[in-house]
């Protein structure tokens, strides 16, 4: 079912099984038939943990989306609300419960808070007079959801905004809790490194929580050697740039949600002769993207320019394999061929899908506008003309290109220049307000608060120092057979991943100066292990580092980390955790404010 989670260095299926068990235990507490009322936001993440079949096995007969007024009719004994602990949801639930009370037979109501039970919400339910209606009020600590063999996400949409704009550290608390759960399953992580204000807070909370748990000594041999906590605002640059890996581009163009992507259906129409393409499917094609698919695992992290050759090589291999049937003479040979058929057919299907996707993407990447945009991005990142108004951005505004695209570029320029000159900044802002509407003044303010858009203060542009010291711009990029992480952005090496790389070798002491330029403190904490659990590393055995991006991570960064994991002399393998999988667009969107 979720075998791909166990392929990695750390078996994340253990975590998945643990959360599944917890879910089953809760469902079994509510004996009899059940209907689940979902907080819509949770259905995606839950899908990665439990399919409908699991729920059905535990007598879940109906599922609804949480909405105001009445619940749809359902002949079940239990009604379970699965919700995030938010006050506005409590109001809806109470509406549901009250209208249900007035009609029909008595039901048992339950509430499952994800990921944390909240006194505040229970108080609200109490004030609304429905708290007593719930038989079970429990929490389901689904903090970190396994997405792939080396990837965990909290899928907490607002995490960045809450942390950096609103000083609300709820998601940091959940992150710390999630890390405690991981440590309970995979052993205490002996060393914690971190950079950034939020990282510091999460580390503090973890240390505090560890103190709370003393007594129940963890006797599991540690799987992770290090934990690296990174604030997103240490590296605001990377997500702004356009990702150029295969997976990154799919996400940039179509958006990957909870490992699923929805694609325009035309390219996926079954090719039949004589059909003339009359009955094109109209419903979007939905595909799951993870390492369970062999081909996808191979190409996802490649630079898009290297994908085509892999696909054509694959095509040859597969058709050669199908040709084999002509060589099969004996019954035994035919039998063997037939036994391989399902696997071959799956491979052929997978190849067809990805060829279609690659075509779709190619249409975009070969467009002139994409090229122009990329050129501007790369100029900014390599430090060219970042201090004056850019004519491409001007043209984009004048032609009313999507606002998010414009904001991304302006922010990128600002970040690559350690802030814009007041005149330049005001010009951009005025242009944006005049073109897209005054209401975006709120969004602009949010971007300023987050540090994405700011006037240059102190008069010094520190980005070139950072760029040179960390070698963020690499002129000689090999997209086909990369030798450096910079291939994921065709030249730009993501700052965050560079920090991780330098931490593992030669250590952060070599870049103290740059670390001081980047925001927030950097630190190291040790969690002492009992002597019996201390690891004796075999020569040549890689360390495992859990790297936690507080505020989101992009697929390109993940690709870069996977590249480092696979380096023969890398010495470190990475497991990646984050509050949310983001790309520049979804990230900027989460910071936008629409007053109407």
């Amino acid at each position: 079912m979720a075998a791909h989670l166990s392929y990695g260095r750390v078996n994340l299926n253990v975590l998945r099984e643990a959360v599944r068990r917890e879910l089953r235990e809760f469902l079994d507490k509510c004996a009899g038939s059940k209907a689940i009322v979902w907080d819509e936001y949770l259905t995606g993440p839950f899908g990665l943990i439990a399919q409908y079949s699991l729920l059905k096995e535990h007598e879940v007969e109906k599922m609804f989306t949480l909405k105001g007024s009445r619940l749809p009719a359902a002949d079940v004994k239990n009604i379970i609300f699965v919700v995030r602990p938010r006050l506005e949801l409590m109001d809806i639930i109470s509406e549901n419960v009250l209208s249900e009370d007035r009609r029909g037979p008595a039901r048992d109501f339950h509430i499952l808070f994800v990921p944390r039970r909240s006194l505040l919400c229970e108080q609200r339910l109490k004030d609304l007079g429905v708290l007593g209606s719930f038989i079970h009020r429990e929490e389901y600590s689904l903090d970190l959801i396994p997405f792939d063999g080396d990837l965990l996400s909290m899928e907490s949409e607002g995490a960045f905004k809450e942390c950096y704009l609103e000083s609300d550290q709820t998601s940091l608390y959940h992150a710390a809790k999630g890390l405690m759960t991981l440590q309970a399953l995979y052993g205490t992580i002996p060393q914690i490194f971190g950079k950034g204000e939020c990282a510091r807070q999460v580390a503090n909370m973890m240390i505090r929580m560890k103190r709370e748990f003393t007594g129940s000594q963890n006797s599991i041999f540690p799987v992770f050697d290090n934990l690296l906590l990174l604030d997103r605002n240490v590296d605001l640059l990377t997500p702004l740039a356009t990702q150029l890996t295969y997976e990154g581009l799919i996400d940039e163009i179509y958006g990957i949600q909870n490992s699923y992507v929805k694609l325009p259906p035309e390219k996926f129409a079954p090719k039949k002769q004589g059909d003339g393409g009359k009955d094109l499917p109209t419903e979007a094609k939905k595909l799951q993207l993870n390492s369970a698919e062999e081909l996808y695992a191979e190409i996802r992290d490649k630079n898009f320019n290297a994908v085509g050759s892999v696909l054509s090589k694959k095509a040859k291999v597969i058709s050669a394999a199908f040709e084999e049937r002509h060589n099969a003479k004996t019954v035994g040979e035919i039998k063997q061929f037939v036994s391989q058929l399902p696997h071959m057919q799956a491979a052929r299907g997978s190849l067809a899908n990805h060829t279609s996707i690659a075509e779709l993407i190619k249409d975009v990447t070969t467009s002139e506008d994409f090229f122009d945009k990329l050129t501007v991005e790369q100029e900014f990142m390599s430090g060219i003309d970042t201090d004056k108004v850019n004519s491409y951005i001007e043209d984009c505004i004048a032609q009313k290109h999507p606002l998010i695209k414009v904001l991304r570029l302006v922010c990128l320029q600002s970040v690559c220049n350690s802030g814009l000159k007041q005149k330049v900044l005001d010009y951009y802002k005025r242009e944006i307000l005049q073109t897209y509407g005054y209401e975006h003044i709120l969004t602009l303010y949010n971007l300023e608060k987050a540090g994405l858009l700011k006037p240059q203060t102190g008069g010094r542009n520190t980005y070139p120092t950072v760029r040179k010291t960390l070698r963020l711009w690499m002129d000689d990029v090999n997209e086909q057979n990369p030798t450096d992480i910079s291939y994921v952005y065709s030249g730009y090496a993501p700052l965050s991943v560079r920090l991780a790389q330098l931490l593992s070798r030669p250590g952060w002491r070599s870049i103290e100066e740059v670390l001081r330029i980047l925001p927030g403190p950097h630190f190291e904490e040790r969690q002492p292990l009992p002597t019996g659990l201390q690891k004796k590393r075999q020569p040549g055995e890689n360390r495992v580092t859990l790297i936690f991006f507080l505020g989101g991570v992009t697929f390109a960064e993940i690709a870069a980390l996977r590249f480092l994991s696979q380096l023969e002399d890398g010495g470190t393998e990475y497991v990646i955790a984050t509050t949310k999988l983001i790309n520049g667009a979804s990230w900027i969107e989460s910071l936008m404010e629409k007053p109407f």
Binding site: L120, R208, T214, L433, Y436, I441
Partner: protein, 868 residues
């Protein structure tokens, strides 16, 4: 050795009974035991004496005195019963007020009747049954715990007799009332009163009765004249013991064994019937020929032993009888009291405390005169070895020849467990250890465990501690319960030593005891808060499994809030710490603790608490000092209380946020233009105060725009409101209002370049090619002419596009020509430019059939360029 079996008395052929002294009693009793109500708890438990249990009319000097002693007679508590609290019964049955704190003593209000019976619960709480059916519960140290009533029926008819009994659920109370009815509760911890059915024709009190427990249900067996009745909660049935000798006209005494399995009946003929408690089987009988009613009769048997015996006590005589024609007789020098135990009987008097039991098999095998059992030989061998005699070898060979050395060792270990005196334990263990040397693979754990157990037993049997547990009792009781009992006696250091010695896990052992100790410590009112807190922290430190909040809750329960707060400082779990702080009304402290934890939900909880508790000003001031709480509260207000949010910003002089707030309001809260403009005005003012010129100006522009849009809507109709400046101009152009559009663009200082784009796009949308051309010629285009070509092509107007293609500057000329499909000319231009990239671009646009010649031309030109 000869004298070792001197206190062994045979009963029949197969068993010996021995009686040995546990303690000589430390107490200095003035009265005889017979003048007291006596209750002794099993498992070597404490002894309670109530002197002068008698009547109210006695003079004050002779008021009842309740004393509690350890089994060795060390006083634990003494109190005048007249200082008992006055009790007023609740209306309903079984109105128990458990868990209450002791009420202040008020001797004048003493109303209740005299004490009828005493007994110990399984938790070693003393239950005192008063004549009015009220049961007072005291702790081991005479501390009043609670009281409960056995019901109105009991209150009306008074208590005639009462028994405390133990079942697997806990401890029960059975009452015989003046109306000869029984009421019982099987578990005083969970008081459920049960009134037993009436015994038909019962006119007087039964001659004797007892409680029994069968199939998890408590019964009562009572004797009325020659008849026996069994009462369960549904019915009363007459029962007859099988094989009962004839001529019985009354039963004088009955005894149920410790495990409720056996029953003994003493009749007025001096005959004793012994059988199963189910009354289905007779085990044996005995005729002692003493017709005087015995004072006490108890069973004396050992678990897993086939021997059955009861001990019967009269004033000065003690008799052990069983399945043998002769009983064993002892003379009692003093008034004595029997305490049935799991594996024997304890007998105490004013001066001594003795234990009477059947000699265990292992001991019997080893010590029986002329025994040739392997254990006996091993003990002998070891003794000879110590004497350095070669006989040691002979004995050892003898055992080994029979291959019985393992049994011999085992026997010695086992026998050591049953010995009370350390010297004898040691010599047996030494023998076992000696024997072990000659065995290859004898598992060491039984020996080690026995040594450990005996050390623990010897420690608690010590006279100062006074818990004379036997090995079997200790195993039955378990170490956990023993530790609880030590804690109950406040013997914390000993309990901790035992835990450490036995290496018990901290959570079950040391931590638990330290926590109990701390809970006791906080009740010491004469010690200052600081000292108590420090003492507790010093001892407990970060011991895992200790809940400081539990201890703090206890301190708070004793009215020591300050101490509780000090203790909570040590509590690492904020989830426990914060609610208690709130309960103690230390909300501000709770707030800082909640913030420290990072648990935002906890912070919110405290905040809402504070909000209700403080007035608004104080609340805001508190928030001001806690930035994290403040930002959380702002979040809360954003969704729940917008007005409060404004007040918060105002208080902080946060003009920037205030400005944003009003901007939001201008969209969300206001409908009318005037309202919206006013809101924006407020926002602009705020932005000025925040020194954000840009935002202020932009806001003023927006006000201007809104008014203008309103006017446009009035004059032209259509929708203008909430369009951006850019879109407003576009809309005006699209509706042919070019003049107004120009005016607006000037008013809002739209940059030239953007205005050109704007016009270009709008005119192309209108397909007003004439106007577009005019516009393109109005002056030199600041955006070049390529956009013109592009936009025409977008509208599929190649004809118009070509017009502009010629005007495109040289840099973009190739691109423009290719757009309009003029490949040949594009090729010429590219060749002219000698630009390789352009040439490649053109080449990629060449289609095989038509542009063959052109392609060749380019190829050649490119080759030339490359040559150079």
């Amino acid at each position: 050795m000869d004298c070792y079996t001197a206190n062994w008395n045979p009963l029949g052929d197969s068993a010996f009974y021995r009686k040995y002294e546990l303690y000589s009693m430390d107490w200095d009793l003035k009265e005889e035991l017979r003048d007291c109500l006596v209750a002794a708890a099993p498992y070597g438990g404490p002894i309670a004496l109530l002197r002068n249990p008698g009547r109210k009319e006695k003079p004050a000097s002779a008021r009842p005195v309740l004393e509690i002693y350890s089994a060795s007679g060390v006083p634990l508590a003494s109190l005048l019963v007249s200082t008992l609290p006055a009790l007023r019964l609740g209306a309903g049955q079984g109105s128990a007020s458990r868990g209450q704190l002791p009420e202040p003593p008020s001797p004048l209000q003493w109303k209740s009747g005299p004490m009828v019976s005493l007994g110990w619960s399984a938790e070693e709480e003393l239950l005192c049954v008063q004549e009015d059916g009220v049961v007072l519960v005291y702790g081991l140290h005479g501390d009043f715990r609670r009281h409960f009533s056995m019901g109105n029926e009991v209150l009306q008819n008074r208590v005639l007799d009462a028994r405390i009994f133990h079942t697997e659920f806990g401890s029960g109370v059975a009452i015989l009332t003046g109306a000869h009815r029984f009421t019982l509760s099987a578990n005083v911890g969970d008081l459920k009163l049960r009134r037993m059915p009436e015994v038909p024709g019962l006119q007087s009190a039964p001659s004797c009765w007892t409680t029994m427990c069968q199939d998890r249900v408590a019964h009562i067996l009572l004797a009325v004249g020659p008849d026996l009745y069994l009462l369960d909660h549904a019915a009363c049935s007459a029962v007859t013991p099988p094989g009962l000798a004839p001529g019985v006209s009354s039963f004088l005494q009955m005894a149920v064994s410790f495990t409720y399995r056996h029953l003994a009946l003493f009749t007025d003929t001096g005959y004793i019937w012994m059988g199963t408690a189910s009354l289905k089987e007779k085990l044996c009988e005995f005729n002692c020929n003493i017709r005087a009613p015995p004072k006490q009769m108890v069973w004396c048997s050992r678990p897993r032993s086939k021997e059955r015996a009861v001990v019967v006590a009269w004033e000065r005589r003690l008799m052990v009888v069983g399945d043998a024609p002769e009983g064993i007789q002892f003379v009692l020098d003093e008034d004595s009291y029997l305490v049935p135990e799991l594996d024997g009987v304890r007998i105490f008097s004013r001066s001594t405390h003795e234990f009477l039991h059947e000699v265990p098999v292992a001991s019997e095998e080893i010590f029986k005169i002329a025994s040739m059992a392997p254990g006996a030989l091993l003990l002998e061998a070891q003794k000879e070895y110590e004497k350095e005699s070669q006989k040691a070898d002979e004995y050892l060979r003898e055992i080994q020849e029979l291959g019985q050395l393992p049994q011999a060792v085992q026997q010695c270990i086992e026998a050591a467990g049953h010995e009370h005196w350390p010297d004898m334990q040691k010599s047996l263990l030494r023998a076992a250890s000696f024997g072990k040397c000659f065995l290859d693979r004898f598992p060491p754990d039984s020996f080690v465990r026995m040594c450990q157990d005996l050390r623990v037993l010897n420690a608690i049997r010590d006279y100062h501690i006074g818990i004379p547990l036997t090995y079997s009792q200790y195993k039955q009781l378990t170490i956990q319960v023993l530790l609880d009992r030590l804690v109950l006696r406040r013997l914390y250091p000993l309990a901790i030593q035992i835990c450490e010695y036995l290496r018990l896990p901290e959570v079950q052992g040391v931590s638990r005891i330290l926590a109990h100790w701390a809970c006791y410590k906080v009740q010491q009112k004469d010690v200052s808060d600081e000292d108590v807190a420090r003492a507790i922290n010093q001892k407990l430190g970060d011991t895992p499994g200790v809940s400081y909040s539990d201890i703090a809750a206890r301190a708070y329960g004793c009215g020591r809030t300050e101490l509780a707060i000090k203790l909570l400082e040590y509590e690492p779990r904020s989830g426990e710490q914060v609610p208690l702080l709130l309960k103690m009304k230390r909300s501000k402290l709770a707030l800082s603790k909640a913030i420290e934890s990072g648990d935002t939900d906890l912070v919110f909880t405290v905040l809402l608490h504070l909000k209700n508790e403080l007035n608004r000003g104080d609340f805001f001031m508190t928030l001001r000092n806690q930035p994290m709480a403040l930002s959380l509260y702002r979040q809360f207000c954003k969704h729940q209380e917008l007005e409060t949010l404004k007040d918060l910003y105002n208080q902080d002089d946060n003009h920037q946020e205030l400005g944003s707030f009003h901007v939001r309001a201008s969209y969300a809260a206001e409908e009318r233009i005037e309202g919206r403009v006013a809101a924006l005005q407020t926002a602009a003012d705020a932005f000025y105060k925040a020194k954000n010129e840009f935002a202020a100006k932009a806001t003023e522009d927006q006000m201007r725009l809104l008014r203008l849009q309103r006017r446009l809507e009035d004059e032209l109709g259509g929708r203008f409101l909430d369009l951006s400046v850019h879109d407003t101009v576009t809309t005006l152009i699209l509706s042919g209002q070019n003049k107004r559009a120009e005016q607006l663009a000037r008013d809002f200082r739209i940059p030239d370049k953007r205005l050109w784009w704007l016009k270009l796009t709008a005119l192309a949308d209108l397909e007003d090619w004439e106007e577009l051309e005019k516009f393109s010629k109005s002056k030199k285009s600041p955006i070049g002419y390529l956009p013109f070509v592009e936009i025409c092509m977008k509208q599929h107007n190649k004809y118009e596009a070509k017009k502009y293609a010629s005007r495109v500057g040289p840099e973009q000329k190739v691109k423009a020509l290719l757009l309009v499909g003029d490949v040949a000319q594009a090729a010429d231009v590219a060749i002219e430019h000698r630009n390789e990239a352009e040439m490649s671009l053109v080449l990629s646009h060449c289609t095989g059939a038509t542009d063959g010649a052109t392609a060749d031309k380019i190829q050649r030109a490119r080759a030339q360029v490359q040559k150079k």
